[in-house]
């Protein structure tokens, strides 16, 4: 048996819980939710990172589908409901492969049935429009984590990739965390500023997740997790799900992206501009400066470090497939997870530890959030706090 066979055997028993997949957004952008035009029951490798055969090949046993919407849309709340509807349609179309899951028990049941447990996570506080009622509406529709911000700040929380404004979480931001604890919705700290991570860890009474973030000590990018935050995970009980996005995990790619952004600004464009003219400038840069390539080993380096700092009970995987244009070699789509597991086996990770990384930690965290919610609901009524009442 090769190590890859060992990896596959391990995944057959303890499949991957992936923290973040942007398939719904890709379906919205590519075919406006015409699910027949991108039938994931068959091969969609020409258009998508994700389809059911490749999820199966990748040993995926549970997927948090991201119901992300862009923060600069005029109406993020209805757009989020559209994304949720998209996931529900996917589940209705593929009942033999995708199992609706709301709880840790649902995840275990799906694993026993050989189906892929399907959960939902919302990405960015803009999806609740500063309203705890809307937050509860999303929970009722099945959303089980909320990333507190996306690339830009919200009124009550700072993003990692925006100018500091609140300095972490505001009073209302802490109330959002408390209400999520009461509901049993996981607090996701990917994308948020380190100050927000620390404030959220102070405010939460349930384990948190990082649905797709890697280690800042390995690769200095604001989207990654600083060591002092990783060190707090054992006390909190949460899980940091390592992401594969090259421009976050490979220092050469971080530097290259910085140079490319600088080049865009020099030509008078915003660095995230995706208009045709801006893309032309970007392609010209790419022709003269080859894009650095991350590998499976790059991601494994992050996991090695995160295990040192946070411990093996607090690691997971969040590929960000269909949410990133580029992927590492060997992790080109959702069928790539066995390559990562094989790399870790080669590095001497035990089967017991890998089962925690792939399956057990994430399931434990969701279950723990449910337990906390059960206790809190007994004593705390739904919060009706508003942004105005708490933050003035």
């Amino acid at each position: 048996m090769t190590t890859l066979d060992d990896a596959r055997a391990l995944l057959a028993e303890f499949p991957v819980v992936d923290g973040h997949n942007d398939l719904p957004w890709a379906l919205r952008e590519q075919v406006r939710y015409d699910l027949g035009a991108r039938d994931i029951a068959g091969d969609q490798s020409a258009h998508l990172h994700t389809d059911i055969p490749r999820l199966r090949a990748g040993g995926v046993g549970a997927q948090f589908w991201s119901v992300y919407v862009r923060a600069d849309l005029p109406d993020p709340v209805p757009a989020t409901l559209e994304q949720i509807d998209c996931v529900r349609q996917l589940l209705a179309r593929h009942p033999e492969d995708l199992a609706p899951a709301l709880t840790a028990a649902d995840m275990e049941r799906a694993r026993a049935q050989g189906r892929i447990a399907s959960l939902m996570g919302a990405e960015g506080g803009h999806s609740i429009a500063d309203s705890l009622g809307t937050l509860r509406g999303l929970y009722d529709l099945g959303v089980r984590y909320l990333t507190l911000t996306h690339n830009f700040n919200v009124a009550w929380a700072d993003s990692a990739t925006d100018e500091p404004a609140v300095g972490g979480l505001s009073a209302f931001g802490r109330e959002v965390v408390r209400e999520m604890n009461r509901l049993g919705m996981l607090v996701d700290l990917s994308h948020v500023a380190a100050t927000t991570m620390r404030d959220a860890l102070d405010a939460t009474s349930a384990p948190v997740i990082f649905s797709h973030s890697s280690a800042r000590a390995v690769c200095d990018h604001p989207r990654n997790i600083p060591d002092d935050v990783l060190e707090r995970l054992p006390a909190n009980g949460g899980v940091a799900m390592v992401t594969f996005v090259p421009k976050f995990v490979l220092q050469a790619a971080v530097d290259w992206t910085a140079a490319a952004d600088e080049n865009m600004r020099a030509h008078g464009f915003h660095h995230l501009d995706t208009t045709a003219e801006a893309m032309k400038v970007h392609r010209a840069f790419e022709e003269t400066h080859p894009r650095p390539v991350a590998t499976v080993a790059t991601v494994a380096d992050h996991l090695d470090h995160m295990r040192e700092v946070a411990g093996v009970d607090h690691l997971g995987i969040g590929g960000d497939y269909d949410g990133t244009a580029f992927t590492p070699d060997g992790l080109g789509d959702v069928s790539g997870y066995p390559n990562l597991i094989a790399e870790l086996l080669d590095r001497g990770w035990s089967r017991t530890d890998l089962a925690k990384v792939t399956w057990r930690n994430a399931v434990r965290v969701l279950g723990a959030a449910e337990d906390v919610a059960r206790d809190l609901r007994a004593t705390r009524a739904p919060s009706n706090a508003t942004l105005e009442s708490l933050d003035g």
Binding site: D34, P74, S131, G133
Partner: protein, 375 residues
Amino acid sequence: MADLQDDLRPATEVGRADEPYPEEAVIVGPEAYEPVSDPDDTPLTRARAVLAAHPVADGCSGLPWVLRRLPWYDLELGESAVEADVPRLRGGQVGAVFWSLRLPEGYEGDRAVGTTLEQLDLAKAVVAAHDQGLRPARSAGEVADARNCGRVAVLFGPAGAAALGDSLSVLRSLHTLGVRVLTLTGTSWAGAAGLTRFGDEVVREMNRVGMLADLSHASAPTIQRVLTISKAPVLFTRSAAHALRPHPANLPDELLTEVGEAKGLCMVPLTAEQTGPAVRDVADHLDHVRDVAGAECVGLSGTFDTGSAHPQELSDTSCYPRLVAELLRRGWEEADVALLTWGNVQRVLRGADFAAHTAQQRRPPSTATIAALDG
């Protein structure tokens, strides 16, 4: 189908197993109505007896919007700040009530959808906090279940059409969250000129998921179009007879006739503005709607807690027996009263369920967008 039935009744016996099939099919007609009151009693006593068997299903309550700004209330024990607390719902022999999630004028997009989600969240929290009196219901079967448990069934809706944010996905999400009625006014696709192509698609998708159309305050072209294309019965959650009182939301006789033919349901509001200042005015409207549309197409809409002024002696939700007594005094058959208070709403809710079951065999979820259909 037992869960869709109002009352469980033993199957009618049409022959023993060892008998040969009868030559002609045996058609079991609708069961005759069995009176529950003594005709010699006073009308009010009779009204209470009829309502005990056939409680009021009230087509519109504005409670969620009132509670939004009301601190420290308790509906369980009686709450003077509202017109419909649990003791008065029980006193009025109310068995089911639609809680309006309607929005103030001018809400659209994020604000409309977000506010509707907040209203719905509040409504659910209020129902959950009063579980000795209230129970949420999403279908005719659940309404009957709530009644069998001695609870007042609360149905969520009507919501404003703006709550869809012009998206059929949002329609499906709201249905998933429990909304069952949507008022088709005040959007670009359901305005004064009637339904656009996207509006048609909204109605078809509402049929598919089992969301009832409320056409009170809708324009005449919208009403006619929905009556034509809807496979499920339609509701008017607050419309009286235009012939008696020319209010814009009241229905002229031609439309009432069409509603009768389509087996829709016109729920007459207890507001001084639309029906008149006295119990007899409301009864006049009920008489008129019954005569024009038919006894199967008339219902009641309390419109309590909507800010409307109510007729004298009908000031809160405990007053329904007085209204029913007036109808009995006028010689309404008990069977017609039973339809008015309870039976017709159950029929319409069942109709929505059946239409949805049928449409789901035939149509996948619609992916239409307003941009594609209305350009």
